[in-house]
Point group: C2
Chain length 370, copies 2
């Protein structure tokens, strides 16, 4: 038996968790709140501000995080952080604001650093401490040491990794997700699903993490029909948020794998939302891994209460039917994406050795069927 | 759904884990190794010293931790730490050295502090960072914010609590437990069992922690017969160590309860080892809680693959047969212990309200049968 386990984040889950646990926000004198335009209207920003004010903590708001933030976007946030002389960062939102808050926390503490150097995973000064408030149920970024940024130079997204960017505190209140539109709910749910599946099949997986896989997948399985029907009460939203958290805790240890590496190009070139891109690739990814990891693939399907991979494909298609037209992607584009994805470091997390040709085939069969 | 989760310790489990992960030991320039006389001979001290030397880190050894260390003992260690000018602490051993290392880490960083002030749970300076290397499978102290010390003023043991005394790194290598004598194996296993049961029944329990209870109890259930037979290979030892870790992770969130509160007097006045004292009380503690927590009690028995509480009692008796004579404790002594235990803060973790008379009855029926 061999494993490592490390989640230093204090996780606080439940209705009104910020209000009832605002003492954990007293980790500095002035905060930069990092968020996007759409993350403000779910009550999270108000709760954070009330909590800060109740403790006399000052704050500045940077709400210009774009979807899939790039280096320029996070540099802009770091400038605001430095000018406002903040000593901690609070990310509020989906994956984009949370990952941006991590990059900003590093850059703000390292004024001489060019944003591109983030990808070296090394920095002189400790990042500012981070608090994370997810407002979607998918990213899991509130409990990971990763920040994924758009990187134009490679025509994809790329992550940087550091134990120092684990958020110090994560507040998970499903009320903030209650009014998410159908498309965001589905896309982010597919992201969580992808984390749980890729994590379980990663070469870095250890049985010590099995509870995350089990609880996470069962939570999604029991609730995807409610998502389809649009019947999402707070209890259902909480289960989705919990599965998302578990997916984050899992990939914090295992990393992601082929699906994420391939999905990035679909987002970068075709603007397909991150989770949706992953979801489209899942079935053929599982097929690809049947040979080497058949038992685990069976186990995933059984935890999802699904008969076979084709049933998974049809459920994902069903979920996406209302939001997605079949993306228009040529074979030469797929070949190009495969040439990018094969260079992603997380490809190495797949047990079965993967070639560029394999990736092309997975793109082709995935995009034909969805 | 409401829960908090916080285990900031980096957990590294497996054979040769210190050697293979010695980089995580580079958290300071000079270490105080805190251990007891009997914890040295299992290879752990050598591994720690080799790892430190490979990184050019200096160290001093304080190996005078006694069983159930008191305030004087940890003050002595803190004096050594200050004189040697160390900047981190490495605890090696069972619960006594690990808990002592936490107290020493606080006192060394707070030179003006009297050891008795530890129980206020407040200190001016952050404790020195702590690395924990358990060499028994029971305490779980490597992943808790607790340190339990003998406190003569109250004639019992008492803990202090602080998020700052969570070890920064815990190395768990079951090789260090391989030659433990039968009595220590059984006593510490009963401590882990008690953590898992008391944690599950604590009012602070949340379902998010269920995996710890499940995996922990099943691990003990599957292996207690090997313990009885003395057939303890490395694999079995690893399962026991893993269950102990899970018990620690659980009580880090839930605290302990009646059993620990009551057990402390048996250790203080009758020198009964900590885990053994807990084990003796478990059956009647479960009986006491049947009324309010019947379903959970049933669940515990089913996870342990045991028919009823009397079977648990007879298993514990069987395990203790080789090590324990029936302790000679009068009824007036039991009444005295009950009057001490009722004042312990962890009594409040029990769902069913407990009176001093209840505790007396649990002592009486437990000690009559064992």
């Amino acid at each position: 038996m061999k494993y490592n386990y490390f989640i230093p984040t204090r996780i606080i889950f439940g209705e009104n968790c910020i209000k009832e646990n605002s003492n954990y926000m007293t980790i500095g004198h002035k905060a930069l709140i990092v968020t996007g335009k759409s993350s403000r209207n779910n009550g999270s920003l108000d709760d954070v501000i009330s909590a800060l004010e109740s403790h006399g903590i000052k704050y500045e708001i940077f709400d210009r995080v774009r979807s899939n933030p790039d280096l320029e976007n996070v540099s802009e946030g770091a400038d605001v952080a430095r000018r406002a002389d903040v000593d901690f960062v609070i990310g509020i939102g989906g994956g984009s604001p949370l990952d941006a808050s991590k990059a900003i926390a590093v850059l703000a503490a390292n004024p001489m650093m060019d944003a591109e150097e983030l990808f070296s995973n090394a920095f002189k000064n400790k990042p500012l401490p981070i608090i994370a408030v997810p407002t979607t149920a998918g990213t899991g970024s509130e409990v990971t040491p990763y920040s994924i940024l758009t990187y134009d130079r490679i025509g994809s997204k790329k992550n940087f990794v550091s134990p120092y960017i684990f958020p110090q505190v994560a507040y998970l209140d499903a009320r903030y997700t209650i009014n998410l539109p159908y498309s965001v709910t589905v896309d982010t749910m597919l992201d969580a699903l992808s984390h749980l599946i890729e994590g379980y099949l990663s070469v870095k997986y250890s049985d010590f993490y099995f509870w995350m896989v089990e609880k996470g997948l069962k939570g999604l399985s029991k609730n995807y029909k409610s998502v389809m029907d649009g019947q999402l009460d707070l209890k259902t939203r909480e289960v989705l948020l919990n599965s998302s958290l578990l997916g984050g805790m899992l990939i914090a240890h295992t990393g992601t794998s082929i699906v994420h590496a391939m999905g990035y190009s679909l987002t970068y070139y075709k603007d397909i939302p991150h989770g949706r891109a992953n979801g489209m690739l899942l079935a053929d990814y599982l097929k690809f891994n049947c040979e080497t990891d058949g038992d685990k693939v069976e186990h995933i399907l059984s935890l999802l209460n699904i008969g076979d991979i084709e049933e998974l494909r049809s459920i994902v298609s069903g979920l996406l039917q209302r939001v997605d037209k079949r993306p228009d992607i040529s074979e030469s584009e797929m070949a190009h994406y495969a040439s990018i994805a094969i260079q992603a470091p997380n490809i190495a997390n797949n047990k079965k050795v993967v070639t560029q040709e394999d990736l092309f085939k997975i793109y082709k069969s995935s995009l034909m069927w969805i």
